[in-house]
């Protein structure tokens, strides 16, 4: 356990932590290649929220993304030589959008790859091996909308949008939440992907907002942290998944802001930077992003706005004309 608990966001330490991630090509680096593309997206997004986008080299980042192209499948893998997957393809598109370099990739082939993954039930597979999950429906909707809303618009749509909505509505549970598939238990991460997809598609009307809002508000535990399901432990990553869901439903005031801020800040590593799942644990870039993104939604001072639907810089999403009706808490001055 770290003894000194921080009471403010250690921006400089987190920037250094993120910069150090790619430096050591040690065993951990090789054991996490299956997540590398996602990790780059988490890193650059965290930097954007802290207003430090330039801390990672733009050209190097774009080169890395392009080096993960899987020409056989027509999508991006998580690392050079890895198979294309929807998870890494969405991250690639998000990174290139943030770096204003979407023109460097083969958009028509990527669109074809994504649309080829829709199954007859309306949901999406992550790759041609067929595992389906509402996460992948969100990846497809998010990615296609970032590339061009025409891919989701009647007349020019490349997927069956009504079927996606129908499938998501069949994943809805008695608690108002959503699971990974039809019949699956509600989970805050799955709730977020379903709400965000419905928000992009303008179909939040199928959500039972009161029941789901209650379920989400009850995720806050006495220590201020949020859990992802009833009777589970708190974890910093739910600071984004629960909060972004509440933000999409415009109910962020249904949890206690100050208690959650203290919880997230207490999970920082004051020596080496980064944020962990909970105080005293090992930090990683995943929890670093979702902790900082949560703080941004809560109106923590001196941060950039994050769009809870895309988990990308809000200004960028607004500029692309994709901003939805979500509501974050007002930003406090420092």
């Amino acid at each position: 356990m770290k003894s000194n608990i921080s009471t403010e966001l250690l921006v400089d330490s987190h920037v250094k932590f993120i910069q150090s991630l790619g430096e050591d090509r040690d065993l951990t680096y090789h054991l996490t290649t299956h997540l590398r593309m996602n990790a780059v997206y988490w890193a650059v997004t965290a930097l954007c929220i802290m207003g430090r986008k330039e801390a990672l080299d733009r050209e190097q980042m774009i080169d890395f993304v392009l080096s993960c192209w899987d020409d056989e499948a027509g999508g991006f893998g998580s690392h050079p030589g890895h198979d294309a997957h929807l998870l890494s393809t969405l991250s690639a598109i998000q990174i290139l959008t943030i770096q204003d370099a979407v023109d460097r990739m083969d958009v028509p082939r990527v669109v074809k790859f994504i649309s080829s993954l829709q199954t007859s039930s309306g949901t999406f597979a992550g790759d041609h091996y067929g595992e389906t999950d509402t996460r992948f429906s969100y990846c497809a909707i998010n990615a296609l909308s970032l590339l061009d809303m025409k891919y989701l618009t009647p007349g020019t749509a490349v997927i069956d949008v009504d079927k996606v909505i129908d499938h998501i509505s069949r994943c809805r549970n008695f608690d108002g939440g959503f699971g990974s598939g039809v019949g699956a238990e509600s989970h805050a991460g799955q709730v977020w992907v379903c709400l965000a997809a419905l928000s992009i598609l303008g179909r939040l009307d199928i959500v039972d907002e009161k029941t789901l809002g209650w379920w989400l508000a009850e995720r806050q535990l006495p220590n201020g942290g949020l859990n992802g399901r009833p009777e589970k432990l708190e974890d910093v990553c739910y600071s984004f998944w629960v909060l972004s869901s509440l933000s999409i439903l415009r109910k962020l005031h249904w949890i206690n802001r100050d208690a959650l801020i203290s919880f997230i800040l207490s999970a920082q590593d004051p020596d080496d930077g980064g944020i962990a799942d909970r105080p005293g644990d090992m930090c990683d870039v995943f929890h670093t992003l979702f902790g900082i993104a949560g703080l941004s939604l809560l109106g923590y001072p001196n941060l950039q706005d994050i769009d809870p639907v895309y988990c990308m810089p809000a200004k960028l999403i607004e500029k692309k004309g994709l901003k939805k009706t979500w509501l974050a808490l007002p930003r406090h001055l420092s």
Partner: protein, 312 residues
């Protein structure tokens, strides 16, 4: 996720480099064994699982008899089993296990479905052992629902209900089991049962949930389920009965009880509106605001909604 750092780990980079043979479509027993080694070091290497399936279907199965294919599938089921014992929450491993089950060959000879049936039926026992180890593992629950859908598995809704009862009785806070119960009932109701049956099932259910509520009134999962059973409160008699039960409980666990009490009393207002009852709900909500200040914003919204409720 835990990783086997000790097992041959220094050479992981070299081994991974060797897998560039993947591009050369090298589908031999040697590359198969290389994938086993890499996956035992890190079961999250999804590309290696993909490669393994390619090696099996393209390079190995075509040269083998049905019996040999069945043995190879059994070996892969064992491989995923040991991976899941160490890391029961890795999507890619569960995924590979599904692939194995779906690739059990048909038997040559008379009893066409024997191997397949045996594999699927065995799977139900396997999954129960995972749910015994962690009754909230949603991967395992998802997999259970997947296995139950197989035409090879005879499992009635009563059996599934009994299973969830066992899970709930060993821990009333097992929200995953309550969830599964809601699914069993929903599919039963969708298939259509008569009103009398429905009433008797619901009454049994109210008895079970009452036990759970009295055991741990602070657990949200139980209240969620209770609200689902009550629904929109069209049955006024039932609504009043449940309100009475909660009022008895109020002294033990006021905040959780109060939330649902306000909800039911608001439903009752829709049947019979009176300013007095509305004001009682508003008073209850301010009590709740004091008891549970974290969710103050929500209770304020509830009070505001009550204030603007039409008095028809």
């Amino acid at each position: 996720m835990s990783v086997n750092y000790n097992k041959n780990s220094p050479s992981i980079k070299t081994r991974y480099a060797k897998l560039h043979q993947k591009e050369n479509k090298n589908y031999t027993p040697e590359t198969l064994s290389l994938t086993s080694q890499l996956l035992s070091i890190n079961p999250e290497f999804y590309t290696i699982w993909n490669y393994r399936r390619q090696i099996l279907t393209e390079g190995i199965f075509p040269l083998k008899s049905a019996t040999e294919v069945n043995d190879l599938i059994t070996a892969d089921l064992n491989l995923t089993m040991s991976a899941l014992r160490q890391n029961p929450k890795v999507y890619w491993v569960w995924n590979h296990r599904r692939w194995c089950l779906e690739h059990v060959p048909e038997n040559p000879g008379e009893d066409q479905s024997n191997w397949r049936k045996m594999s699927w039926v065995k799977e139900l026992r396997v999954i129960e052992s995972f749910l015994d180890a962690d009754p909230r593992n949603f991967h395992a629950w998802n997999y259970r629902r997947y296995v139950l859908q197989s035409p090879y598995v005879d499992h009635t809704w009563e059996q599934e209900l009994n299973y969830t009862t066992r899970k709930i009785e060993s821990n009333f806070s097992n929200f995953s089991a309550w969830h599964q119960r809601s699914k069993v009932y929903t599919s039963l109701w969708e298939r259509g049962i008569n009103d009398e049956e429905l009433k008797s099932i619901k009454n049994q259910e109210f008895n079970l949930i009452k036990q759970a509520i009295y055991t741990d009134p602070g657990d949200q999962s139980i209240w969620l389920y209770h609200r689902w059973l009550v629904g929109e409160g069209k049955d006024e008699e039932l609504l009043r009965r449940e309100i009475e039960m909660i009022e008895e409980l109020l002294s033990i666990e006021p905040d959780r009880c109060l939330d649902t009490l306000i909800h039911y009393k608001t439903l009752l207002l829709r049947h019979r509106y009176s300013l007095k009852d509305r004001d009682e709900c508003i008073t209850l909500s301010s009590r709740l605001r004091q008891l549970d200040p974290f969710r103050d914003g929500r209770y304020q919204d509830i009070a505001n909604e009550l204030l603007s409720m039409p008095n028809n």
